[in-house]
Amino acid sequence: MGKKKNQEPKALTQGRKTRRRWLTFVRMCRYGVNNFSRNMWLTVAATAVMTITLLIMFMTLVARQVLIDTVNEIKDKVDMSIYVDTDTTADQAAAIKDAISKLPTVTSVMYISPEQGREEFAKQNKGDIQTLDALNEATNKLPGIFRIKIVDINDPTELNNFVKNNELYQENKDPDREPSFQGDRRTAIETIGRWVEFAERGGLVASVVFMIISALIVFNTIRMAIFNRKEEIQMMKLIGADRSFIRGPFVVEAIVYGFIAALIATGLGVGALYALKDRINEWVTISGTVDLVTAYLGLILLAMILVGAVIGVVSSLLATRKYLRI
């Protein structure tokens, strides 16, 4: 019985403490929201800067994705060519094709016979009478072409080994034409390969740099906003407010900035993407990115809110820390 009596006041004190904490939390939130609505010009400025920041982040990521898609599409269009003599028979060509397609790094092989090559050439130059006349008079000296796509255009080692070691190819190869991944053409293919790498790595670095710069801009805006109210903070301290009670409303306010800015930035960013997709599609590959954004719209909005809130919270915590010593 006595034990129970001792426990009751303890439980009561604990209950009171919890109630106080809850009350304090609710009050901090209320003050944060009040500050947001009562400091109109600061609110507008901070929300605008945060919106621009999130928009820059969104656009940077979209641009990176578009760049990667575009370069990948170009990469897909790049094929490597091996040339065989005009006299190579269909059977020999089929055997070489079969051997090439068995290489693990090869994704597709297409054979264009000298006859097909001649027809294609005629089609391409149908407006050019002089060239067509020359073609009609000349004997067909066009080579047979194998158009080959490989997994990584930066690494044609396996194909290179095939060219050097395959006997059937060696017997039928066109002595006048080097394979495209050797000599001059190799440089062009390598340039494209470097662009792919640049799109992936450079895009990532640019995204990170933009994000850091944007976060710094937001941090400075919030710091200015808090600097403006340093006397208010000083006064709160002298009245006896705890650090957390002083900091709380600023943090809540920053979360509200982040939330509203995320809604506006996502709206503007996604809206702009939809509105401009047809025009942009003429130059770059954007449809994949638009599909991605459409599929993950909810997640993107959530991420934007989270990023906005985190930048806001970290900025306000750092900015108030200076004024909260003793």
Binding site: R19, R20, L23, T24, R27, N34, N35, R38, N39, E231, E232, Q234, M235, M236, K237, L238, I239, G240, A241, D242, R243, F245, I326
Partner: protein, 230 residues
Amino acid sequence: MYRMILLDRVTKSYGRDDKPALNRISLHVEPKEFVIIVGTSGAGKSTLLKLLTREEKPTSGKIVIGGIDYDQLKDKHIPLLRRKIGVVFQDFKLLPQRTVYENIAFALEIAGMTSKEIRNTVPKVIELVGLTGKEKQFPHQLSGGERQRVAIARAVVRQPKILIADEPTGNLDPKHSWDIVRLLEKINKYGTTVLLTTHNVEIVNKLKRRVITLEHGKITSDQAQGSYRQ
């Protein structure tokens, strides 16, 4: 004997080579006393008040306020100490975005009082300082005298043992200055120790209270019913 404020050979220097702002001063104030501190600018009045509110730490010496020894006070307990001391400033230091009611209630909210307790207490203090009817106004809608009344209401709403008023009439005309001084006297009559710093010769001489004079960081006079000449 219990002393509300006790300073024992307190020195405060801001730089190593600078002259100390306060130089080995000792004083004590009894509970319910009304003490006026006078002195020219730079005499050390502000430093003294900053030491009492623990905005600054003394370079040497001992400070005990309401039984709390500052040497034993941990940083995390400073807010609790400040809730026991009411402070009023020359420039009011009100929260500009909050109404009269909210400014006063703020002092209770930070102490974790319930909304019901706040609703019961705040109107009484608003009545005490004569601002009934102005509860919903913002500081910028009030006169200087009214703003100072809000500041006083905020300082006394938690019924502190000590009220420190730092030049509370500095920004007011003579009529409003006297209103504020009368209000401080009323609060003192209810049992709060009041520490008032002022430049106003007329107020000091008419009040006939204890006057401590500071000059160049030292106490040069301490009179029970003092006067002041600039």
